[in-house]
Symmetry: C2
């Protein structure tokens, strides 16, 4: 048998205005027995407490882009989030004082992502967990945003195993009770999966499951000064994970002109019209759909 998971870290508030994770972590801190299991310890973390306090995504810079090793080792970086990332890594990361084997980072999004599990890396544990979650709840989508670079800026990369949960659509600064409850159930399913894994129990999976692989991003049309010139098209809004065919509209200009998807194959956009990505130059992520054979993981 592979080595057991000894410590799981549940993170909320990596972005201070994504309230689902913030309030779930606070609930778990108030009622720890909800996340206690027999074979491992579960820790909780409010990752960006200052941003949570003021209800903003971040204070100085996006915490969920601060975990590349070269940055964690760079003592010259002095933003609040760069320092916070170091503290989190030194506590829960590999070799840390409370080293965790598996981390779940709870996010929400203004895109209609439903219940999305993002697998940051393709190791068998992450993939089998994703297969299990999509088997027990057909609403769960699995997104592969694996970066080609070996170094990874996301919080879920600090442990051996990890995933990010994105739930939406929900506005920043808003608690949606339905999504709160669905995310809570998903966390319990993850913890139960880890418990089964540790005790050698194989939980049911389907023969195949669907994974969406991010292949590139598309920015808003912009003028020479970088100002956006169009909006996500009404026919695409809230259509995350649905097929987009060549010739279908992507954007609507402020003057009412359609701007068309001119690719040559069917793709599946996600993170459509996420509020926090306007400043990142991202109107949506473009993915391809794959069927994965569970037996091949």
């Amino acid at each position: 048998m592979t080595s057991p998971i000894k410590r799981v870290l549940l993170v909320g508030g990596t972005h201070g205005n994504e309230l689902t994770g913030v309030f779930l972590v606070k609930k778990f801190q108030r009622v720890p027995k909800l996340i206690q299991r027999v074979t491992f310890e579960t820790c909780t973390l409010l990752a960006n407490p200052k941003a949570c306090e003021v209800g903003r995504r971040y204070i100085d810079t996006d915490l969920n882009r601060c975990f590349e090793h070269q940055n964690l080792e760079n003592l010259g970086l002095s933003t609040y989030e760069a320092q916070r990332a170091k503290v989190i890594y030194l506590t829960f990361g590999t070799g840390g004082s409370l080293e965790a084997d598996f981390v779940v980072d709870l996010h929400s999004t203004t895109s209609n992502m439903g219940l999305t599990v993002i697998v940051g890396s393709h190791n068998p544990f992450n993939m089998q967990l994703a297969a299990y979650l999509s088997c027990i709840n057909p609403n769960v989508k699995v997104l592969d945003s694996r970066r080609k670079a070996s170094d990874n800026p996301y919080l879920d990369s600090i442990c051996k195993f990890g995933c990010t949960i994105e739930v939406g659509a929900v506005a920043q600064g808003v608690l949606n009770a339905t999504l709160f409850q669905q995310t809570e159930e998903l966390v319990y399913a993850i913890l139960d999966y880890v418990e089964a894994y540790n005790t050698g129990v194989l939980l049911a999976k389907k023969d195949t499951f669907t994974i969406y692989e991010t292949i590139r991003t598309i920015d808003y049309p912009r003028d020479e000064f970088g100002k956006i010139q169009a909006m996500v098209h009404p026919r695409l809004q809230f259509r995350d994970y649905e097929a987009l065919h060549p010739g279908e509209p992507l954007f609507l200009s402020f003057d009412g002109e359609d701007i068309i998807y001119d690719g040559d194959s069917v793709v599946y956009p996600v993170f459509i019209n996420e509020a926090a990505y306007y400043e990142k130059g991202v109107a949506m992520h473009i993915t391809q759909q794959h069927q994965i054979f569970s037996a091949n993981i």
Copy 2:
């Protein structure tokens, strides 16, 4: 005939993260002929440019609570928004260098308010305009948030006539193309109404229209430290302007308990789960529904 409207002020970006108004005003500034009419001048204003630049509701304090006369006259107030309010009032307010007779302030909300026209005061011009807009578009709702106090903190109070447009549900920091287009049409309908008013033309209205009068607000259940203990109930979420009966659920606690509306009459909640109102201690506004006879305005 009553005196004509000589200047109309269209305002966006009073809150920097409500993008519908921000981008509509930018469009009108780029293509001024869209808002030009024969009998009056139309001015545009991005009310809080610093907040727009950083994509936040405000820098120091809520600009749309800065327009009480005692504050406009208080030279000791030094927040960015307090100073900005004085500049706006001295320019477009009564006696200002570009005094406007009528102001339209464009907002958006995370609540499902559709196309709401808020009449700040009950003068016949405001009310007849509201009657006309709800006649030509059945999706338009009219909200009376008239304050009992004679002094009014809202931007739409700086002119003789004025209204606030609230469109939603849309997340902060997000452009929703459908709501953008609907708001644009509403602005043109307002300008056409003013043109007709100035030329003595009576535009069609129905005999009666519905108005929702705000009677009080309800806060989230909170603990002794002011921390919220419950979320808007899934059965109430996005149900703005729908009837709420005594005994129906208002909130869902983090532990899954229903919290019931214990009033003794049917009411119509609005601004349900507006992101910006968490800090104001407001989970929703409670309104009563009235039928207004157009002939009695």
